[in-house]
């Protein structure tokens, strides 16, 4: 790809178990999208999806990375983690389904809304997971899109 293409890219490392930094990457993404001139509704959809994705890595994986790329038309967030993977992706996409521990729930996490919430706010959402290795999420949010509900 040409070096001067009109795509803004940035990567955000996320460390599993680092609850002190929960939401930091999502917040940074939100600020960037505002600077890039996306409207408030689109920024909010992206912020919610990014937050849920970031939290999934923090709660379940050892480590992961969020790659943001923004073109004039869409926001693309890819989340790769090295972790337990998801055995039944379809089940995990069901609202209310969660494998969160009691401890996580006590902190207010793990209501089983993560992946369904990303799906609702994204225009395109794909999950690719391998048990024992990790999970990859592809999230696309379009300028003037509406999510998938």
């Amino acid at each position: 790809m040409p070096a001067d293409e009109a795509v803004f890219r940035q990567e955000f490392p996320v460390t599993g178990g680092d609850f002190a930094k929960a939401g930091v990457a999502a917040c940074r993404i939100k600020e960037l999208l505002k600077d890039l001139g996306l409207d408030a509704a689109t920024v909010r959809r992206a912020a919610i999806a990014a937050y849920e994705a970031e939290m999934n890595v923090i709660m379940y994986a050892r480590e992961g990375r969020m790659d943001l790329s923004v073109s004039p038309d869409e926001v693309h967030i890819t989340v790769d983690d090295r972790g337990p993977g998801i055995a039944d992706v379809e089940l995990a996409m069901t609202e209310g389904y969660s494998t969160a521990t009691a401890e996580m729930r006590e902190l207010g996490f793990g209501a089983g809304m993560g992946l369904p919430n990303i799906k609702r706010n994204a225009d395109v959402f794909a999950v690719d997971s391998e048990v024992g290795r990790g999970t990859r999420l592809e999230i696309i949010i379009r300028r003037n899109g509406h999510g998938t509900t």
Partner: protein, 426 residues
């Protein structure tokens, strides 16, 4: 840069020596030091007063109403923030303070604690009638409203649309007093007394009303010496107020100025109180990310510990807080406002916003999406070349903001003393 100058916070050029205290303290990075003097970027300033707290040279001042300006009114009414009751130690009763305000020139003075209780009851009614969205955010702190309009625009619709006690009180008085005292409405001046510079902004440029019902705001700091002087000279009055108290204070509303005070009287709803500018921003970030939806009401005040920590108070906030907690306990839990009155006013929409708070025009790097992307790329490159010491010598609060200013065309790379002589790689 936009100069819509309804701001309360200003820099006194003569006193400013161009140091970096205010730069670092500003939560919205609205200050730059240019030509050896601090300058505020109006469109970013939210009038929180953090700069005023930290300036070692008293170069930051707030435009509040002067006592002398009240002569313009034939009939002068004061509605002091309940913060005032915590300013004069434990021996002075609220009734004495109200009485002292009358002696120094106000024709009438009204306590706000009962109206705070009324606001709380109206809030409960609103929450009962509106199941969504969650959480609603209270609007008492004008800085929070500005912060949401500018930084969290998608939350504008979550501001609970009931006017704060000061505006409700002024609105009630404005509708009753002209007849009651026989003075034309325009000759009655209704003045708030407050520890908060931002109240002046909410009066001059209200976010949710066509026009404020208040005519001005005097700072606690400005009026304190006169109240103190009057209190010292009137032992007989103190005796009178002790033996024949004339105002009935609300224990539910009395603690309104302490963090958690707005939600203390709220029964049957999950409410959370946040105070301090940094914590407020952290929590609003979470709300914008879709969290806290199991919370009905979020009380946010940007001053530490609530309005009691306002930058224009006199007594240290810990003593003031302790005093107010004594008064809350003394006043007890019983209601002084008739719930039927509240309901009537509520259903007449007498307590509501005129209009919702609207988002402030955003400031993207560029209006054109492709150009904005290019500028963001360039900003990252510039930031990478900066030392990240956030020293403030360039005049921006930190290296990231300098990089941002450069791509917006308001600063140059040469402003950084550590990269002098180097050319920016493009």
């Amino acid at each position: 840069m936009n100069t819509r100058n309804s701001h309360a916070i200003h820099i006194t050029q003569d006193k400013c020596i161009g140091c970096v205290h205010c730069l670092a303290a500003c939560p919205t990075r609205a200050i730059r030091v240019k030509g050896g003097k601090a300058a505020i970027i109006d469109e970013l300033c939210i009038d929180c007063g953090e700069c005023l707290r930290v300036c070692p040279h008293e170069a930051v001042h707030s435009h509040t109403t002067s006592f002398a300006a009240l002569h313009a009114f034939e009939y002068k009414v004061a509605i002091p923030s309940t913060v005032i009751y915590g300013q004069f130690g434990t021996a002075v009763l609220p009734n004495e303070i109200l009485s002292a305000l009358r002696r120094i020139g106000f024709d009438e003075v009204y306590d706000l604690s009962s109206i705070c209780e009324l606001n709380c009851a109206a809030t409960a009614e609103y929450l009962n009638e509106h199941a969504r969205p969650r959480p609603f955010i209270t609007s008492t702190c004008p800085v929070v409203v500005r912060l949401i309009q500018g930084r969290y625009p998608s939350l504008c619709g979550q501001i609970l649309p009931i006017e704060p006690p000061r505006e409700i009180a002024a609105k009630i008085l404005r509708s009753i007093l002209p007849k009651a005292v026989g003075v034309p409405a325009e000759k009655i001046g209704i003045i708030h007394i407050t520890p908060c510079p931002a109240k002046m902004v909410s009066i001059n440029d209200p976010a949710t009303l066509a026009k404020s019902y208040l005519d001005g705001a005097i700072s606690v700091r400005d009026i304190y010496p006169q109240i103190l002087g009057s209190l010292r000279k009137s032992e007989e009055d103190a005796m009178m107020r002790h033996l024949f108290p004339e105002t009935l204070f609300s224990g539910i509303g009395m603690g309104w100025s302490l963090a958690g005070g707005e939600i203390r009287g709220l029964k049957g709803h999950r409410a959370v109180a946040v105070s301090g500018i940094q914590d407020t921003m952290r929590v609003l970030d979470q709300v914008e990310a879709g969290l806290l939806q199991d919370v009905d009401l979020l009380e946010c005040t940007v001053c530490p510990d609530g309005c009691i920590g306002g930058p224009l108070e006199v007594e240290n906030r810990f003593l003031a807080k302790s005093r107010i907690m004594e008064l809350v306990a003394a006043a007890g839990e019983h209601a002084v406002v008739d719930i039927k009155d509240v309901s009537r006013l509520y259903h007449k929409n007498f307590l509501s916003f005129d209009h919702p708070a609207s988002p402030v025009e955003p400031r993207p790097l560029d209006r054109d999406p492709t150009a904005a992307i290019r500028k963001a790329q360039r900003r990252e490159k510039i930031f990478g070349a900066l030392p990240r010491r956030d020293c403030g010598i360039c005049g921006a609060p930190d290296c990231w903001t300098l990089a941002d200013d450069i791509v917006r065309g308001c600063a140059r790379l040469e402003d950084c003393p550590f990269v002098e002589g180097k050319k920016e790689k493009r």
